[in-house]
């Protein structure tokens, strides 16, 4: 299962740079980054090549952060693909907490990171529908 780091940040200038800086100092490669804004604070979401090491580096800088399992679903680059994928969630009665994607050259498509309450159950369901759900190892190799 893909690992995502959720970092609690104040909504003020310079916080994301600080995160990127500490990742760079720890020699960690950021594969994807998204921000969820909640007023005075936000959550920065990171997909990195070494999540455990990244968490230690962030905690050392005083950041509050935690690791979450997320779905990493491979999407073909064709119209309507995302719609087809997302519409299966409400059909299953599953609520999407947050989602974001990034294009990956190596697989000639894009990867969608989707946060749900029970990612293991949803993985099985999506695989049954023919979707490719990446493991953490596969993401780091992208």
């Amino acid at each position: 299962m893909a690992k995502q780091i959720n970092i609690f940040v104040d909504n003020r200038a310079g916080r994301i740079q600080k995160i990127a800086e500490s990742m760079s100092l720890a020699n960690i490669n950021i594969r994807a980054l998204a921000i969820q804004d909640r007023g005075e604070f936000g959550l920065v979401k990171l997909i990195v090549n070494k999540p455990d090491k990244a968490v230690l580096a962030l905690q050392e800088k005083g950041f509050a952060c935690g690791i979450k399992d997320v779905l990493a679903v491979v999407m073909e680059d064709k119209p309507g693909g995302l719609y087809q994928l997302l519409k299966t969630f409400p059909e299953e009665g599953v609520n999407i907490l947050d989602a974001y994607g990034f294009a990956a050259e190596t697989i000639k498509g894009s990867v969608f990171f989707i946060e749900v309450k029970d990612p293991a159950q949803m993985t099985a369901f999506l695989q049954g529908k023919g979707y490719k759900v990446l493991t953490d190892q596969e993401i780091y190799e992208l």
Binding site: F8, E40, F41, L43
Partner: protein, 438 residues
């Protein structure tokens, strides 16, 4: 395990009620005699028919004397309350306060000796001995907290390290090198230590700390527990104010069930701050103090503005001097928010009970149209963060609900990053009131 009960002067500390009242009356007569030498009290006391110390016949006569306030001290600056020849004065302590007009307290050598003796008595009650190493991390100078404890610990024969406040790393190095057993600091400064100790390359285990005297700013019982657990020490609460010398007015003993107020040095009264009527024990009110052993600046019925309660019952230590509870707030710290009285200490108590948030907080007040808007800013405690947004929103609601239950009004709650709210090494300034500007 409890320590042994120790006394500086068991006879004075365990004096029976009748003997105490007799002693207080003698000292009160003498104090009124001193006070009548000042232009301020001569005018005040003559107006109520007190012309000499003989006009004080019983302790009941104290009630004839009008209260003395901080404003009286300001208006009498610099010499209106000086009761001795300036030649006999060996020290002054002034404080500027928020208004900018200073107040002054003069001390003769005897005044200082009496003060020091009260401090010795206080720290002995907490189990300090001449074998202890005492690191005084309070500000020295005009602020009485630093000098007061310094002289007390020195007279007791402890090894005193007058490190003053600031320079956290050097403080830790001193603690380690000299095997410091007792520290004196503000609670904010101790929190600061707990957050920096690892980063600065020290561990609690390699230090030899046993006790801390924390004061100069209000703190809650939970703050005490957090500091005790972190440093594995005993934290003792104390009470003092510069108008009454400084530290050593009231001090906890090893039982930590309220602070013994030294009634052979001060007459304790509790009043309702609104009606100014005397209150009985066990009712929260404003503490009013009369000095009994001060020549240079005697103060009669001084309104401290501190709200406390006299603790009922006897202390297991055997001291007969009554105990006062932790200061619940100051009559002038009280915030009036949408017509409701709120003390910052009430907000602190709620926040300290919630494990998911850290120690720093800020109370922010603003106007929204005609309404008061209260925002309480807290820091997320990094070790208890799961990474879930839902948890954060649940936490905000929980803090809001518990604050509402305690202070009646519903505040906005803001979560901030650990270490992002202002932390102060000295008196924490935790209330920002933007309403005044409008």
């Amino acid at each position: 395990m409890k320590e042994k009960i120790a006394f500086r002067d068991a006879q004075k500390e365990c004096i029976d009620g009748q003997a105490l009242r007799k002693y207080q009356l003698e000292r009160l007569k003498e104090t009124v005699g001193h006070a009548l030498r000042t232009p301020f009290y001569q005018h005040r006391l003559n107006k109520v028919g007190i012309r000499s110390s003989d006009d004080i016949r019983s302790l009941k006569d104290l009630e004839r004397i009008p209260f003395t306030t901080k404003d009286d001290l300001r208006e009498s600056y610099p010499r209106g309350l000086l009761a001795t020849d300036m030649k006999k004065v060996v020290r002054v302590h002034t404080s500027s306060g928020t208004t900018g007009i200073p107040t002054v307290i003069y001390h003769t050598q005897e005044d200082l000796d009496n003060w020091t003796e009260l401090v010795v008595r206080s720290i002995v009650a907490c189990g300090v001995t001449s074998d202890d190493v005492f690191q005084n991390m309070m500000t020295y100078g005009m602020f009485t907290g630093g000098l007061g404890l310094h002289y007390g610990a020195e007279r007791l024969g402890a090894l005193v390290i007058p490190s003053g406040s600031g320079n956290t790393k050097r403080q830790l190095q001193l603690m380690k090198d000299f095997r410091t057993t007792v520290v004196h600091a503000t609670p904010s400064y101790m929190f600061h230590f707990s957050s920096k100790i690892g980063e600065l390359g020290f561990t609690v285990e390699e230090l030899n700390l046993k006790k801390a005297f924390l004061g100069a700013e209000p703190y809650s019982e939970n703050t005490r527990k957090k500091i005790e657990e972190f440093f594995k020490i005993d934290v003792y609460n104390s009470y003092g104010l510069s108008e009454m010398n400084g530290p050593g007015v009231a001090f906890e003993c090893i039982y930590k069930t309220g602070m013994h107020l030294w009634e052979d040095a001060y007459i304790l009264e509790m009043i309702d701050p609104e009606t100014k009527k005397n209150l009985g024990d066990d009712t929260q009110g404003e503490l009013v103090l009369t000095t009994l052993c001060r020549q240079a600046t005697p103060l009669l019925r001084y309104r401290t503005r501190d709200l406390t309660t006299v603790v009922k019952g006897n202390c297991p230590c055997g001291r007969t001097h009554r105990r006062i509870s932790r200061i619940a707030g100051r009559t002038d710290d009280m915030l009036i928010i949408s017509g409701v009285n709120v003390f910052p200490s009430q907000i602190e108590q709620v926040i300290m009970k919630i494990p998911e948030v850290g120690n720093n907080y800020q109370i922010y007040l603003a106007k929204e149209g005609a309404l008061d808007k209260l925002t309480v800013k807290v820091e997320l405690y990094s070790k208890l963060f799961s990474g879930d947004l839902q948890d954060l929103e649940r936490l905000k609601r929980k803090i809001q609900d518990e604050l509402r239950a305690s202070i009646v009004i519903t505040p906005m709650v803001e979560l901030h990053e650990p270490g992002s709210l202002p932390e102060f090494e000295l008196k924490a300034k935790r209330v920002v009131d933007e309403r005044i500007k409008i």
